[in-house]
């Protein structure tokens, strides 16, 4: 269980995250929505401890992770793996090395500097690459891959960390719809099979509705909605995005969800077994 108590992050006199409290049980798949600048990325970075909060605490399994320092902090980052909108892979390194880098937190410094990864780690990396179906690209440099492929490599790297939590900051915002669906399906699959908690900030409302069991809406650094996708009514959405007149877009969005649902059902019928 992740417990966030009154956490704030200020940049100058701007409260990017403003007194947020939140409890996320283990194994939940959570979507964070909100307009640009609402504080979604900041919140995720605070949980991974890439950034330090100005105020407040975060607890995980009873331990205050906002107090972690040194080795313990690095361990925590390994445990709470992150995925980014821009993938954040090291572009000039090949896919396989990037995936192996997920093990850096488990390594002594000196051997890792010479890329002395064990056979077992390599086997593990292949397994993760197989899972995201990108093993055939393993020796390609990352900047030669498409966005969707890079994001799958990033998921494989995150899985190498053997994480208990995956924090995904707009994992599909730079992807075409098909790659986006693949990435979201992989994340849901990881969440269901491994029981890993997934917290994803998402721009695309329909994806949040479709893949997440819980949706958190943020505006101006505060949480303004927290509930099931079904509870996310038109009024709530307008509140989160602070718009008066998004009717058309919203209708379109809702239609989208219906369509996706139908498609899924259709596929289930079509494929026997």
């Amino acid at each position: 269980m992740i417990q966030i108590n009154n956490i704030s992050k200020c940049f100058g006199n701007l409260n990017a995250v403003d007194d947020v409290s939140l409890i996320i049980p283990d194994g939940q798949m959570v979507g964070i929505i909100g307009s640009s600048g609402a504080g979604k990325s900041t919140l995720l970075r605070l949980i991974n401890r890439l950034w330090d909060p100005t105020q407040g605490q975060i607890f995980y399994k009873g331990k205050e992770i906002t107090q972690f320092k040194g080795r313990e902090l690095l361990r925590w980052r390994t445990k709470a793996a992150m995925i980014f909108q821009q993938f954040n892979l090291v572009k000039r390194l090949n896919v396989f090395t990037n995936v192996l880098m997920g093990r850096l937190g488990y390594h002594k410094t000196l051997p890792s500097l010479f890329m002395m990864f064990t056979k077992e780690e390599r086997a593990l990396a292949i397994e993760k690459l197989d899972r995201v179906e990108i093993t055939d690209q393993a020796l390609k440099r990352c900047d030669q891959l498409s966005g969707g492929q890079q994001q799958r490599v990033a998921i494989a790297r995150a899985m190498m960390q053997n994480p208990e939590i995956i924090l995904a900051d707009e994992p599909i915002a730079s992807l075409d719809p098909r790659s986006a669906a693949k990435v979201m399906e992989t994340l849901r699959d990881i969440n269901r099979k491994e029981g890993i908690t997934v917290i994803a900030s998402l721009h695309h409302l329909a994806s949040a509705r479709m893949y997440c069991e819980r949706i958190i809406g943020m505006a101006n650094g505060k949480i303004v909605f927290d509930g099931k996708p079904s509870e996310l009514t038109k009024e709530e959405v307008l509140k989160i995005y602070r718009v008066e007149d998004a009717e058309e877009e919203l209708e379109h969005d809702i239609e989208n969800v219906e369509m996706l649902k139908h498609q899924k059902q259709g596929r289930k019928v079509a494929v026997p077994g």
């Binding site: 892979l89 090291v90 000039r92 090395t97 880098m101 937190g105 410094t109 500097l113 440099r141 960390q161």
Partner: protein
């Protein structure tokens, strides 16, 4: 005057007074620009007069120049060809070792001077001042000092190149480090990698190609400087050159200069090829 604009006069005037900067230059800005240009021309003329730069003197000296050229030809090695080759080899080795040492020391030190890596302001500024201080002293002066300290010979030349390259490369490297793509750093940091691992896996792949290509470029120019260093007592081909100049043996001087030109041309071509290869292709295998 026929108006071919969609804007009324009032509207135009209103826009102009609202956004004066978007309607071309004003009288003030034109005046300022003219003043700057006039001042620059005056300053240039002043330096010409002050340093007695007179194109006429070149014309008057042109006869002497041709006379000197006639002394150069035909070039002749005077039976010292093997000695020249050894000298040239020495010069190349001096440039190579000096650059290599400079590169090896600049690599770690540049991280200390980079703002995004070293958050400790004191040590960072100290490292920068150190680079600036060394760079403030010309390689030739360093060579003179080292000749005094370690005696005549290539070792002094190596040290001179090493020290001055260390500073210049260090500064260039730290700038490359400060320009890395922050996303790649953040991604690596988020895995729980420690500081040294982040440098190894996120910084080095981004900056090493730039660093290597810079170092190669420096090697090229160091071959040129190394031949001058020889004149100051640092051995190599420069020493032979200086000996010939002192006794006015211009045909042999010419021969040595041609040898140097050919060598430098070959190195330039090779180094360009290598640098292109480095920048284009860095497959890493774990």
């Amino acid at each position: 005057m026929k108006s071919n604009t969609r804007f009324s006069i009032e509207k135009m005037a209103a826009l102009e007074s609202k956004h004066p900067l978007l309607f071309g230059s004003t009288f003030q800005s034109r005046f300022r620009r003219t003043l700057v240009i006039v001042l620059m021309i005056l300053f240039t003329l002043f330096t010409f007069v002050w340093l007695d730069f007179n194109p006429l003197r070149i014309f008057l000296g042109i006869g002497k120049f041709f006379h000197m050229l006639s002394l150069f030809f035909p070039p002749n090695h005077g039976g010292w060809f093997n000695e020249y080759l050894v000298g040239l080899g020495e010069t190349l080795a001096m440039a190579f070792l000096g650059t290599l040492l400079g590169f090896l020391f600049a690599l770690p030190l540049s991280f200390i001077a980079a703002k995004n890596v070293n958050k400790n302001k004191g040590s960072r500024l100290l490292m920068r001042r150190f680079f600036d201080f060394i760079r403030g002293i010309n390689t030739l002066i360093w060579a003179l000092m080292f000749v005094h300290v370690v005696g005549l010979g290539p070792f002094a030349g190596i040290m001179a190149i090493f020290v001055s390259d260390l500073a210049t490369l260090g500064k260039l490297f730290s700038e490359a480090i400060e320009n890395v793509d922050i996303n790649q750093i953040e991604g690596t940091k988020s895995t729980g990698a420690n500081g040294i691992q982040i440098i190894r896996f996120a910084y080095i792949p981004q900056v090493l190609p730039i660093m290597l290509s810079n170092a190669l470029y420096f090697f090229e120019s160091n071959v040129r400087s190394a031949s001058i260093l020889g004149v100051l007592g640092a051995g190599g081909i420069g020493l032979q050159l200086w000996d010939r100049i002192r006794v006015n043996n211009w045909k042999e001087v010419c021969f040595i200069i041609i040898m140097l030109l050919v060598t430098i041309a070959i190195i330039d071509v090779l180094s360009k090829k290598l640098r292109d290869m480095i920048m284009a292709n860095q497959e890493y295998r774990p």
